[in-house]
Amino acid sequence: MAVTVSPRRRKMVEALIGYAFIAPTMIGFVIFLAIPMVIGIGLMFYEWSMFKPPEFIGLENIQAFFRDPRIFTVYKTTIGMALGLVVTNLTLGLGIALLLNRKMPAVFHGFFRAAFFFPFVVSSVVVAVIWQFLLNKDLGLVNYYLGFLGVERINWLLSSTWSPIAVIITDTWKNVGFYALIFLGGLQNIPRDYYEAAEVDGATPLQKFRSITLPLLTPTMLFLVVITTIGAMQIFGQSFILTGGGPGDATRTIVMYIYENGIRSFKVGYAAVMSVSLLLVIIGLTSVQFILSRRYIHYQ
């Protein structure tokens, strides 16, 4: 005899199963993100050194934030480097993906993909230490080879002009393989029919790239621009190890500054203000990207 289940009950059971599936993620989100975030927002109004009870100080931390002579420089550095990282990672990532998408023996496909992806799985600290040697002004390999081209020794790590570029180079070297892989996925999703139709119409490779590849890669690009911007605004390891944030504040990022205030100087309340400011900046930048995407993104 068949058991009849009312549609309402059935719906409820389905909902419960759904909730059970998302529960592990939601529990993790609430414990490790939502609750700390709420506490962080609350801490903006307190002075707290971790060892004495928090003391309510109203808006003092926020006022201090707007009076801090270094905050503008640090944000300028962070946004400048983030912009550089978005441009280099996406441009080179796309270039590498286009090369990898060409016809070649399978063994080369595997080799090049692994070679480009390999730095991505190496720890940021190891990458920074390696590049510290490579970029040494007097003994580094980079200046050694540039010397053959007649380029004078560049003070990569100690010049305020070159040190942000050194950080961008290092980070790009590490991450570009990941971007290439995502772009490669995007390229392989574009139907061959479009290219064949264009070839029938006598389109040149450049025309095919401009009119087919690029427009149909825009969803992938949006995804990469958003995650790169969010990631680059939070860059820490490369600057911390490679240049220590110097010279001066030339490579000091906002996350480094938060770390120095909150973790090293125990100004937890002030660090909370900076963290919330970073959250707002990232929300702002991401919103702009999504608004622009309505105009420039093409889906198949």
Binding site: S159, P247, G248, R264
Partner: protein, 433 residues
Amino acid sequence: MSNRRTFYAVLIVLLLTMVIAPAAIAQTDFSGEINFYYLDDRPESRTNWEMIVAGFNETYPNVTVNLIGGPATEGWDGYAQGAARSIAGGQPLDLIYVAVEGVATLVDLGVLRSLNDYIAADQEAVANLMDDVDPALVEPFIIEGNQYLLPHSWNSMLMYYNTARFDEAGIEAPAEDWTWEDFLAAAQALTEDTDGDSVPNRYGFDIGGGPFGLEPWFASNGGSFMSEDWCTPLLNSPEVVETFDFLRSLVYDYQVAPTPGSTANLFEQFQNGDISMFAAGRWMVGIFMAADFDDYDIAYMPGNPDSGTVVGVDGYAMFNSTQNADATWEFIKYLTSESVQQTLVGAEDAPASNVPARRSVASALENFPPDHADRFYGSLSFGNGANMLPSPKNASDVYGALGRAFTNIFSGEVSVEDALNAAQSEITSSGCS
């Protein structure tokens, strides 16, 4: 007769038992665990501490000392903050080995326990140490009437020079009272462009950096980067500006020093003569002993006009969070004992390290290299004398601002005055309570 002999023998045994047994019980009376936070979490550093703990356990076998290494990469101030963060994170710590740079910060955070009660209750043992230590090495550990540390070892900065390079260049060893001008002349004579590309390959001097590396230069110019009470930063004082002008000229005008931070391996470059002079404390002697290198000597820092240097002292402090205070105090006494301090002096299996705080032990340094090893202790009273490294409670902020000014100045893109004015304006907190 035989009965009387037996009686005396039994009596002596009883008396000895009465005297020795309580002492033996007292010695092993302590038990439990001590969580000891020490600098430098590399395996070779841990081995040294394990040997010391083994010595302690010979007397106190029931005490287990857990060694917890802190990173040595962020300076003493960063290391001390790391210990504080461990406590904040729930790690129970009893004891810390820490230098002056981190003490005021830890006291300000309220994590250190005053040792006054223990010192008062154990006067004889403490007097044995204090009578043997220069009072200047204890002073920074007393804050508002509370003593927080017992001293272990110290260092001052002296000029190491490669004697073979000096002979090769035909210049005399530095005189005791040499000046900045003499130093510059020596550095110029020792700088060489061996491949003819107009860029030196062998330099007279390496500047180094950091508060401990810079303060001797300020001191030898009659200044400091902090006021005497460590409350107010003096980063743009005339003495500091003039000193930075001089140091900057070594790189950009005279080209006798590489840009700070660009030296790949100072110790190797010093040994092979590519760098002929650099300033450091006694910790270098152990490194050179291990490398079997002895073509070097030390000189007092050059003066302008009088020499000056800086002193940094370290010791042992108890945390407020300790669950085993009495055993921790016994361990502190052991750590500051003559036998442990002797390990700093140097031996074949234990290369030399810092200068021991105890004078009686430090006098043995003269039996070790270099030729003028007496200058390690002599620097305390030579010229302008030695001033304790300014270590205010906001040490991280002050050292950070000094470091940023330093990198700005040597980037060659910011003037000395602009860099130092900016650094001075960045410190908004007071160094003292």
